[in-house]
C-alpha cells in the first residue's frame, strides 16, 4: 500500500469534486476506461470527491461533461506540482546541482587525518612524519599509496611497531602501535653482573649466583656493581657466572617547592562567551566582531570539522572560541598554611611517581622560612628492589 501511495505521489494526483445527478454513470464510465480512482466519498447527495491521476484528468473532465457533471479541483498533490512550484527558481536548482557536484568531487580527497595510538601511548611528531611521507590533507585518495607511506614512516622512525592506514570516506585513519623500548635481555647462559639503576642505601642483599660487591648499609649510586658475575673458590679459581640475586635498597624521592605567602589566585566566575567562525583551509571568517568584553579571560579554541556522515569530512571547519571570565583574587597565607599547602602538593606529586605505596618507610619534611616565601622539601624513603643485568665484556 505504501508503495502504491509513493508511486501515486511521484506521478502526481488531483482530488476533484464532481457535482451532478448521474454520478454512478460517471464512475462506471471511468472504470470501464481503466482509470485509477481511489478514496471515493460522497459528501452529500450530488457531490462526490475522489482522487484521480493527473494523466487521466482531461479525459475525466470530458466524461463529466458527457454525464452533465461539474468538476472542481480540490487539491493538487504529488511531485509534478511540487517541482512546478520551483520551476522558476533556476538559480536555486543550479546551486543545488553545484553543491552536489562539490560534495561529490570533494569526497575524492582526504580532508582529515585521524591518528589512533594503541594503548593511548603518544608518539611525538608523528603527524609531521606522516605528512612528509605523503599523506597530507587535500590529497586525492587515488594518489595515496598506503604501503609506500607506511614503509617511509617506518624507515624514518624506530619507535613504531605497527602502522596501518585506512581510508574511510574523506577520513584517513592512521593506527599506530608504539614499540616499547625493552631492557637489554641477557641470556641465561651469558655472564653478567648486576648493577644498580637507582641511588640508595642497601638494606638487604642476597646473592644466589655471584659474589656480593656491597654490604648492607652501603650507599650506592647508579651504575655501581652490586653483584659481581664471578665466584671464587678455594681450588677452582675465578669462575664466571650469570649473576642472580635480590637486592633491596632504601631509595629517596625528594621534591621541592617554594610557596609565596601572597599569591594571586584565578577563580572562574562561570561567565563565558562564545564566538563562532568558519575556516576554509587557511581562510578564516569570524561571525562576531571584536574581542571579549571581559577584563580577564581564558581563551579556549575548538576546531570542529564539518562532516556529512560519520566519515565524510568536508574541508570546512567551524571554530568555536570560548572566553571564560576569571577573577584575580589575592590570597595571603600564614606560615602554617603555606607549609601545609606545599606539603600537600608535593605529596600528591610524589605519590603519583611511586608505584608501591605500601613500601614507603619514612617521610621527611623540611621547611626553610624566608621573608616572603617558604621552601618546602619532602623526602620519601621507599624500599625497592633495584638492579639490572649488565653483560660482562672481557
Amino acid at each position: 500500500m505504501i508503495i502504491k501511495k509513493m508511486i501515486n505521489y511521484i506521478y502526481g494526483y488531483v482530488r476533484i469534486v464532481v457535482e451532478g445527478y448521474y454520478i454512478e454513470r460517471f464512475i462506471n464510465i471511468c472504470r470501464n476506461r481503466n482509470y485509477m480512482m481511489w478514496n471515493i466519498k460522497k459528501s452529500n447527495d450530488i457531490q462526490l470527491a475522489l482522487n484521480v491521476e493527473i494523466k487521466n484528468f482531461k479525459e475525466i473532465c470530458k466524461i463529466a461533461k458527457k454525464t452533465q457533471c461539474k468538476v472542481k479541483i480540490k487539491a493538487k498533490r504529488g511531485l509534478p506540482f511540487f517541482l512546478n512550484r520551483y520551476k522558476k527558481r533556476k538559480i536555486f536548482a543550479l546551486f543545488l546541482i553545484l553543491i552536489f557536484l562539490v560534495i561529490f568531487s570533494s569526497s575524492h580527497f582526504v580532508w582529515n587525518i585521524e591518528i589512533i595510538e594503541e594503548n593511548g601511548l603518544e608518539i611525538e611528531n608523528i603527524m609531521e612524519d606522516i605528512q612528509e611521507a605523503g599523506l597530507t590533507i587535500g590529497k586525492s585518495k587515488n594518489d595515496i599509496n598506503a604501503k609506500e607511506i607506511i614503509n617511509k614512516v617506518r624507515l624514518e622512525r624506530d619507535d613504531i611497531a605497527w602502522m596501518g592506514i585506512e581510508l574511510k570516506g574523506t577520513n584517513a585513519i592512521v593506527r599506530l602501535v608504539k614499540a616499547e623500548k625493552k631492557p637489554e635481555i641477557v641470556n641465561e647462559d651469558e655472564y653478567c653482573n648486576i648493577i644498580s639503576n637507582k641511588n640508595g642505601v642497601i638494606t638487604k642483599i642476597n646473592a644466589q649466583d655471584g659474589t656480593a660487591n656491597v654490604k648492607v648499609g652501603d650507599t650506592v649510586s647508579v651504575g655501581d656493581v652490586l653483584i659481581n658475575g664471578w665466584m671464587e673458590g678455594k681450588y677452582t679459581g675465578i669462575r664466571y657466572v650469570h649473576a642472580k640475586g635480590e637486592i633491596e635498597a632504601k631509595v629517596w624521592y625528594t621534591e621541592h617547592k617554594t610557596i609565596e605567602y601572597t599569591t594571586t589566585e584565578r577563580r572562574h566566575t562561570g561567565n563565558s562567551e562564545n564566538h563562532f567562525g568558519i575556516k576554509i583551509n587557511n581562510f578564516e571568517i569570524n561571525f562576531s566582531k571584536g574581542v571579549s568584553k571581559f577584563k580577564f579571560y581564558d581563551t579556549i579554541e575548538i576546531e570542529n570539522k564539518i562532516r556529512l556522515f560519520s566519515n565524510l569530512y568536508l574541508p570546512i571547519s567551524v571554530i568555536k572560541t570560548t572566553y571564560q571570565e576569571y577573577e584575580e583574587e589575592k590570597k595571603i597565607y600564614s606560615v602554617e598554611e603555606a607549609k601545609n599547602l606545599g606539603i600537600q602538593q608535593i605529596e600528591e606529586e610524589l605519590e603519583r611517581k611511586i608505584e608501591n605505596k605500601e613500601n614507603i618507610v619514612n617521610k621527611n619534611i623540611n621547611t626553610y622560612e624566608h621573608e616572603n616565601s617558604i621552601d618546602v622539601y619532602v623526602t620519601y624513603e621507599v624500599l625497592e628492589n633495584i638492579g639490572t643485568n649488565e653483560k660482562i665484556v672481557f
Binding site: 472504470r31 481503466n34 478514496n39 471515493i40
Partner: protein, 92 residues
C-alpha cells in the same frame, strides 16, 4: 463441453475459482471493510447505500459513512460502518 474440461483442469491445479471465472469473491474484514472482487459496476452510490452489480447478481450494502476506498478494474474496497448487506440473484 470445452468450458467443462477447463474447469476440471483448473480444479486439478487448485486454482481459485474467482481467478478463472466471473464468480465474485466477497471478503468482509471486521464490520468496517468489504472487498468485492470480480464486480461489474456501480449502480448506486450514496453515503448510506451502495449497490454493486456483479456477474452473478446484485449486492446492496447498507450502512453509514460508506467510502469507495480503492477501485481497480476488478476489485473494489468499501469502507465505513456496514450494517447489512443482501444479494439479488440473477435467475436465468
Amino acid at each position: 463441453m470445452k468450458k467443462n474440461r477447463m474447469r476440471k483442469l483448473n480444479k486439478l491445479l487448485e486454482i481459485p475459482e474467482e481467478v478463472y471465472s466471473d464468480v465474485p469473491k466477497i471478503s468482509l474484514i471486521g464490520f468496517d471493510e468489504m472487498i468485492i472482487e470480480n464486480y461489474k459496476g456501480i449502480l448506486e452510490y450514496e453515503e448510506f447505500f451502495i449497490r454493486i452489480s456483479t456477474y452473478k447478481g446484485l449486492i446492496s450494502i447498507n450502512g453509514y459513512n460508506l467510502n469507495l476506498e480503492t477501485m481497480t478494474n476488478d476489485d473494489i474496497r468499501v469502507t465505513g460502518k456496514i450494517e447489512s448487506f443482501d444479494f439479488e440473484r440473477i435467475t436465468d
